[in-house]
């Protein structure tokens, strides 16, 4: 896009209320910018918190300790447990959702009455608030009356305690995440699939190219930018998941599900250790920042293609 200026019009309107094209864009985006600054200030405050010994219970002991919080974090096993659980949650959710989403997108690729209906209905779980979705599954997995508890007991698992047992808690929250977000990947990939050119597939069919070759050598490479954007979107959400886990188990049982944000929440509000909590969040922020950079590159390319600029 070129810079837009309107010299003849600017001149003709002299004397009336006019704003030059140089100032106009700043004027238009000023309000949004102010909101921006309103968020940047607390962000800087958070950075400062992470460099301080700052416990609300001992306000007198508050002082700068530079990287003290980080050093003690990296030495504590509970922090590495948090890193491990967060990564496990992210890898499991994104992995399962990607495979399942791709499968569903392929299943719904060809348009028909059923596939159209199903692709509309599929968005419903995605529209349920993650916290509410967790509560719905909590009702269904209740050990007294939950319909899912009953169904798995029919399959022979009589003591399956879902979110209440450390052995199955991760499985349970991953299941809720998969229920909510698989449609997201499926819908995005379906739009990608339906936007692909037909010629390569028609040519492959004419030449009698085997299906596996078409899938791995034609379909997947063409779909790759969509797969990347969808999975980066999901990774960024999954690594900082809070709603589903907090609503389902509050991070428990014990420390089973203490992912980054839940751990930071407990550090700040239960143990009043604001310094440590901020340090944990800074580590998370560094991870999301790196992911965002990769994401932006990919996403900008797709976006330019969608709007016909490349």
């Amino acid at each position: 896009m070129d810079a837009v200026t309107y010299p003849p019009i600017e001149r003709r309107q002299k004397g009336r209320f006019t704003v030059s094209a140089r100032v106009l864009p700043y004027l238009l985006s000023m309000p949004a910018l102010l909101v921006c600054i309103g968020i940047l200030v607390p962000f800087i405050t958070a950075v400062l918190y992470s460099l301080q010994r700052y416990n609300l219970a001992f306000p007198m002991g508050r002082r700068f300790i530079w990287f003290g919080n980080f050093v003690s974090l990296f030495r504590s096993s509970s922090f590495w447990h948090t890193v491990y659980v967060s990564l496990a949650y992210t890898v499991l959710t994104v992995g399962v959702e990607l495979l399942l989403g791709l499968g569903i997108a392929l299943l719904l690729w060809r348009r028909s009455l059923i596939t159209n209906l199903l692709s509309v209905l599929l968005i419903l779980p995605l529209m349920v608030a993650p916290a509410i979705a967790a509560l719905m599954w909590k009702l269904m997995t209740n050990s007294n009356f939950g319909v899912l508890s009953y169904l798995v007991s029919l399959l022979g698992f009589h003591d399956f305690r879902w979110g209440a047992s450390p052995n199955t808690a991760l499985f349970t929250v991953v299941l809720v995440d998969v229920w909510v977000y698989t449609p997201f990947i499926a819908i995005l990939l379906l739009a990608g699939l339906r936007g692909l050119p037909r010629q390569p597939f028609e040519a492959a069919e004419l030449d009698g190219v085997p299906g596996t070759f078409v899938f791995f050598r034609i379909l997947l490479p063409m779909l790759l930018p969509y797969l990347l954007t969808a999975s980066l979107f999901r990774m960024l959400d999954s690594i900082q998941q809070f709603d589903i886990i907090y609503a389902m188990t509050q991070g428990g049982p014990g420390d089973t599900l203490l992912v980054f944000q839940v751990q930071a929440y407990l550090q700040a509000f239960t143990f009043t250790d604001v310094g440590r909590s901020s340090a944990i969040l800074m580590v998370l922020w560094a991870i999301t920042y790196a992911l965002t950079t990769v994401f932006m590159k990919n996403w900008t390319r797709l976006r330019e293609r969608a709007h016909g600029m490349a």
């Binding site: 837009v4 019009i9 003709r12 006019t18 704003v19 140089r22 106009l24 864009p25 238009l28 985006s29 949004a32 909101v35 921006c36 968020i39 200030v41 607390p42 962000f43 958070a46 918190y49 299943l107 719904l108 059923i114 209905l121 599929l122 968005i123 419903l124 779980p125 529209m127 349920v128 608030a129 916290a131 509410i132 509560l135 719905m136 909590k138 009702l139 269904m140 009356f145 009953y150 229920w179 698989t182 449609p183 819908i187 995005l188 739009a191 954007t229 900082q240 907090y246 609503a247 980054f260 944000q261 969040l281 922020w285 999301t288 932006m296 797709l302 976006r303 969608a306 709007h307 600029m309």
Partner: protein, 283 residues
């Protein structure tokens, strides 16, 4: 023969997909019409005499528990959700649409950086800003106010509006705007008479989607408000942890909290793909 088998397999798979994604919604809706006796019956059965008692109890605010009645004003949470979501969307549209136009039409210094900074908020851990904000809000008397929460909600709704609407403005040809201006109309008139109407589908989609995202938010009000301003997402959690509330009433509360977004989603279906991918993929 094998193509028929394949067809059957496809249908079986589609039924399984439909079942997995719709059954939980269906079951909770059924539960919301059950009495406690129906719910606790084993094995669980979808056949029962439906009752509206759970919904009536929620609306009146008198909830029956195993140990007598309690007073929980869930309707107030519902009202909070409406206030917070509607106000957030309106503010986002007022702030976001002109900015989106600026980013789409003009190449100006710092413009792209600003647009990306705004977008990166969408991906930053919310607790990181919420923690310091809690302190600031308490000094500024914004804690536990709709105003404060609507401001923070801009973190999710503003990037959405900005990036979706920007894509629509980019698709509108500048020639139409120029032609109108050559007729002697000012910039402001052109913006309101030509640019905005042409981008209206995008503005509508961005508004509806950001409403859904605002409605579904959980963590902002959990930290920056008390039950006076908290939406249904936080209210429902308090509800389920409060001891002994009948399960049918919990189910009814969950159903009430998801109905607005589900209904809206059916209407926004056409724009959903573009909105969810922030304009990267056209549906």
């Amino acid at each position: 023969m094998s193509s028929q088998l394949l067809r059957a397999l496809r249908i079986v798979l589609m039924v399984m997909v439909g079942l997995f994604f719709l059954f939980p919604l269906l079951w909770v809706v059924l539960m919301s019409f059950m009495t406690n006796v129906d719910i606790l019956r084993s094995p669980p059965s979808p056949f029962f005499v439906p009752t509206l008692r759970n919904y009536l109890a929620l609306i009146s605010g008198h909830l029956s528990t195993s140990s007598g009645n309690v007073q929980i004003d869930y309707m107030h949470n519902l009202l909070n959700s409406v206030i917070l979501s509607v106000c957030s969307v309106v503010v986002s549209l007022i702030l976001g649409v002109p900015a989106a136009y600026a980013f789409a039409r003009y190449k100006f210094r710092g413009g792209e950086d600003m647009a990306f900074t705004l977008l990166s908020f969408r991906f930053a851990p919310p607790l990181l800003v919420l923690l310091p904000l809690l302190g600031y809000f308490q000094t500024l008397h914004l804690y536990d106010t709709y105003f404060g929460l609507v401001w923070v909600y801009q973190l999710i709704t503003l990037p959405l509006v900005l990036w979706i609407v920007r894509g629509y403005f980019e698709d509108v040809s500048e020639d139409i705007e120029l032609a109108y201006r050559l007729d002697g109309h000012g910039w402001l008139a052109t913006f309101f008479k030509i640019s905005i109407p042409l981008a209206r589908p995008g503005i509508a989609a961005a508004g509806l989607l950001s409403f859904i995202f605002a409605w579904n938010n959980f963590i902002f009000a959990l930290i920056l408000g008390s039950s006076d301003v908290q939406p249904v997402t936080v209210g429902a959690l308090a509800f389920i942890t409060a001891s002994g509330i009948e399960y049918g009433q919990i189910a009814a509360a969950l159903v009430l909290s998801v109905i607005p977004t589900l209904v809206l989603a059916i209407f926004t279906q056409r724009y959903l793909v573009e909105g969810l991918s922030l304009g990267a993929i056209k549906g």
